[in-house]
């Protein structure tokens, strides 16, 4: 069955004063209807930029975008502003971001902002706004519609954002660090809500996060990004239990666990993440990789095995007898 979103070799390039930066390069992934894909990586890896580039959101509207992103038969990268606008409507793509306060209009009541996304007579839109707020679990939605964003807590604001995102019944919800600014208990409620809504409506979710714990609990598949590229992808349980890329393994070893033996030392990854204006030659992770070989001076190929993909030279020398 054709995927809902098929991204092929996506690249984002900025030129300014003669300096070229490529925060996203050669990114390819699929999302099926109803599937939850997590895009995970540290700062500067390109995960947010990838999401913005899909619908030419700032700053990618000023960038050169290359490659393809097929969504319901259309290549998103070739759409004009009118086409993109239509996409933000019914059956399209909706976004929620990390900072709800920054995304909500501070001088407009919540109900108005939600109703703004809808079409139809005013009364019907207002009623729908109340219904949506109830659906996202906002207590006393009749009252909430008349409130300004500043009167709501962070968690409530995020729920209002979700209500706005859902107003157009999107086929794909892109959530970029939606709960990073929230407490863990609120985080759990908001993510439970997204999961439930996705399950009820068949909506697919692209979840961007730096938190591997969230990936483990809230996604079906994961793509690990580093230096503008996807370095490993596959089903969540497989990738997290048996990581194949040294960077993925490094991240997993660096995360504190609740159940590991207490004398288990956390292992950081030496060095720092490279920045988009100076990607290393060859394999971007080589300067920090304990398993770096001579061959790593060349850009590694993407090795596919079953549902898993790894961008690493090490995979090309693995014995074939090992199953995936």
């Amino acid at each position: 069955m054709k995927p809902l979103l098929h991204v092929e070799d996506l690249g984002v390039r900025f030129r300014r004063d003669g300096i070229v930066t490529t925060p996203v390069r050669g990114v390819s992934f699929d999302i099926a209807s109803g599937e939850r894909l997590a895009l995970v990586g540290e700062s500067g890896c390109g995960k947010s930029m990838t999401c913005l580039a899909l619908t030419a959101l700032a700053p990618t509207d000023r960038a050169e975008r290359t490659g393809h992103a097929y969504f319901c038969g259309q290549d998103l990268l070739t759409l004009d502003p009118g086409g993109l606008r239509a996409l933000r409507g019914r059956d399209g793509i909706a976004y929620i971001f990390q900072d709800p306060a920054g995304s909500l209009n501070p001088v407009m009541r919540i109900g108005e902002q939600i109703a703004e996304c809808l079409t139809g007579p005013r009364r019907a839109r207002q009623d729908e706004a109340v219904r949506l707020l109830a659906r996202v679990g906002l207590p006393d939605p009749e009252r909430a519609v008349r409130m300004y964003p500043s009167a709501l807590s962070g968690g409530m604001q995020q729920r209002a954002m979700i209500a706005m995102a859902l107003a157009c019944r999107p086929r794909l919800l892109i959530a970029d660090e939606p709960t990073t600014a929230l407490d863990v208990t609120t985080q759990r409620q908001v993510l439970d809500l997204i999961d439930r809504l996705a399950y009820d409506t068949g909506m697919a979710v692209l979840l961007v996060t730096h938190n591997l714990g969230l990936v483990a609990g809230r996604a079906d598949r994961v793509a690990v990004m580093y230096a503008g590229q996807i370095v490993e992808s596959g089903p969540v349980a497989e990738v997290l239990r048996t990581p194949r890329h040294p960077y993925t393994a490094g991240l997993l070893a660096a995360v504190p666990r609740l159940d590991a033996p207490r004398d288990r030392k956390l292992t950081g990854i030496p060095g720092t993440v490279p920045s988009p204006d100076a990607w290393p030659e060859g394999c971007a992770f080589a300067p920090r990789c304990a398993q770096c070989m001579e061959r790593c001076a060349q850009p590694p190929p993407v090795v596919e095995e079953g549902k898993r993909q790894v961008r690493c030279w090490k995979q090309t020398v693995r014995p074939k007898a090992e199953d995936c």
Partner: protein, 256 residues
């Protein structure tokens, strides 16, 4: 005798045109020399306020903070100066804690000189695992992890007996967090510092601390050994907090 003892501490913040907000509503705890204590809770629980009160940045409304036998809140200027040398703090905003117009070397020099300490800048950098070249760097040239190490070096310059770290790694990338946490643990053990780690992340606290204190709405709901509290929590709030933590292993095991 505990090194630091907090008794019935109440801290209130004034609110314009209204009643003051009680950030801490009678908190009591003890920390022994060389012990590492984690203070956990969600936003608004009062953990940062507690950290600030211990360091002397915030004046309590009532209650006592007794450090090495002296009540911190009732000291004169000389006493407060002496106290701040003994109790040092590292903040969440790594780069924001450093003077952007001074090099690392200049910042460390200033501290050593003003407080008349004998250590050298090189020795301090070595203690926090930074290379000598960093001496001439400005904060903007350093990564978040490196800035945090510089902040630590600056604290260590005063040879404190207590180190308070308020969310020291939350703003750092995962791979860097591990290294800074390891450094904190190692410094604490090697120098015999008492460490007070404020964090919203239970797994981080479990890795670095021996004891834990759970704050909610300005009161301590549970405290004890980190293993006891995290493995056999007795309070509903602690349980709710644990259940909400997105832990890789637990999620994979399908526990939630």
């Amino acid at each position: 005798m505990p090194l630091l003892e907090i008794q019935s501490l109440v801290v209130r913040y004034p609110r314009p045109g209204g009643l003051p907000v009680a950030a801490l509503k009678s908190v009591s705890l003890q920390i022994k020399a060389g012990e590492s204590m984690g203070i956990v809770g969600e936003s608004g629980c009062g953990k940062s306020t507690l950290a600030r009160a211990i360091v002397g940045l915030v004046k309590p409304f009532s209650g006592q903070i007794i450090f090495d036998g002296t009540d911190v809140a009732r000291q004169d200027r000389a006493g407060r100066l002496h106290h701040c040398r003994q109790v040092q703090m590292v903040f969440q905003d790594a780069i924001g804690s450093l003077n952007p117009r001074m090099t690392v070397g200049a910042m460390l020099d200033e501290v050593l000189r003003v407080h008349g300490k004998r250590s050298t800048r090189m020795h301090l950098l070595e203690q926090v695992g930074l290379p000598p070249e960093v001496i001439s760097a400005y904060p903007r040239e350093l990564s978040g992890g490196q800035c945090q190490r510089v902040s630590l070096a600056r604290c260590l310059a005063l040879e404190p007996r207590v180190l308070v770290a308020d969310e020291p790694v939350s703003a750092l990338d995962v791979s860097v967090q591990a290294r800074v946490l390891n450094l904190l643990r190692e410094l604490q053990q090697r120098l015999g510092l008492a460490l007070l780690l404020v964090s919203h992340d239970l797994a981080v606290v479990r890795t670095v601390c021996d004891r834990i204190c759970v704050l909610h709405d300005g009161v301590i709901v549970e405290q004890g050994n980190v293993e006891d509290v995290l493995e056999r929590p007795t309070q509903p709030y602690t349980r709710a907090l644990l259940a909400a933590v997105p832990d890789v292993d637990r999620a994979l095991a399908g526990r939630w």
